[in-house]
Amino acid sequence: MDKYGLAVAIIGAVICAALAGIGSARGVGLVGQSAAGLVSEDPSKFSKALILQLLPGTQGLYGLLVAVLLLSQIGVIGGAPQQLTFAQGAMYFFGAMPMAFGGYFSAVAQARVAVSGVGIIAKKPDQNGKAIIMSAMVETYAILALLISILIITGLGSVINAA
């Protein structure tokens, strides 16, 4: 089993980047549709709608960041892959999961809030700051997921490299 340790860790990085990326793609796509509806009626609201569309895109970046960090810790980036036991690979795998799932679900939830925000811009454009703040509140949980994934992966790296 121990020969699969590295593979399990890489799968963790793949899932993290993919799930968070899918969540962001869905989110940005959904808000984009809504923003396009508004801009087709009033092109002057493009910049306000664009900010809301960008917000669910950050989870994809966080997923990418965690995947790169993980791959760097296990030596895949740098050309010297470590020999990991299955248990070590599994620890890296689970370390990436908070960002994978937190990223996916927070991006989708944030998109729905941002779509409501597009409605606010349509009816009361001067209140767009509130629409952005409400949507940004969902970002908190993506950041918490990012934080815990970084702490686990960097902590694991220190422990495994020291051993």
Partner: protein, 320 residues
Amino acid sequence: MKDTEFAFAVAKIRYAENSLISEKDLDRLIDAGSDAEARRMIAEKGYDAAVDTETMLNRASEALAAYIREISPDKNVVDFMLVANDYHNLKAALKELVSTHGMSAGFGPDGIVGKDEVKNAVLAKKFAELPEFLRGDAEKAYELLINLYDGQAADVFLDRAAADAAMRYAKQAKSEMAAALAERSCALNDIKIAYRAAYTGKDARFAEDAICPCASIDKEALIDASLHGEEALVSYLDEAGFAEAAGALRVSPADFEKYCDDALSELTYPAKWMSLGPDPLIAYYFARQTEIKNIRIIMSCRRLGLPAERIRQRVRKQYV
């Protein structure tokens, strides 16, 4: 269909809601110094005031349905409301067909199909050219008119068929709001028929034929109450959970009509806070139709010279 597929359409609707006529605008319309001024105010809201009021409002209604179809991913989302126009136009076409004086009956705006399509098929007696949902009903109504010379029976049959069709299309719309609107509309229409039956002393057969079954009304009990007169019917409504409807009926039929429209409008209010799904489109369609109805009421009342306060009493609640 997923609610997220409506994101584009709902954003457009949110913007379009800004141009709905508000209650303040209606007040200004009621208080306008002359009909010319009133028409100018209506034109400012995007209506084609170059034609007569009825044509203007029918065109606005047709343009509204076309707009919803254009932007909605589900092209049939408001069919459960449009189908009433088809049955109205079918009735008008049949009346024109059997009229011995070549009288042109009052056609309404287009429904699911255009009024000309309905009119041409009926006047040529080519019922097979009508869309499937109208074909059988048109043939049966025509039989009633030709064989029994019973215009009222034909009208009752078509009204009932229209209510059935609305319920059927509402189910297809896969929207809780559409289902609730169709159900409430059917129930209120049944009450209207029962009251008319009680007022004119119609027999049980009339009510049995005309009242459309729906979940919120006990049809047999409603018919039974209507046979015992207006007061018995109103008392029954009090006990059957329609106390507000009963209260409005006690005041006047006009108040009841207003109550019906306002009660249906209230069902659409939750859509104000929905960002996805078909409900905001349905609510906007209903709101714009209410606006059209209000303009019709105000312009008619102005023509009749009614005082402003009486016009205000008849105006329906606006969505915004």
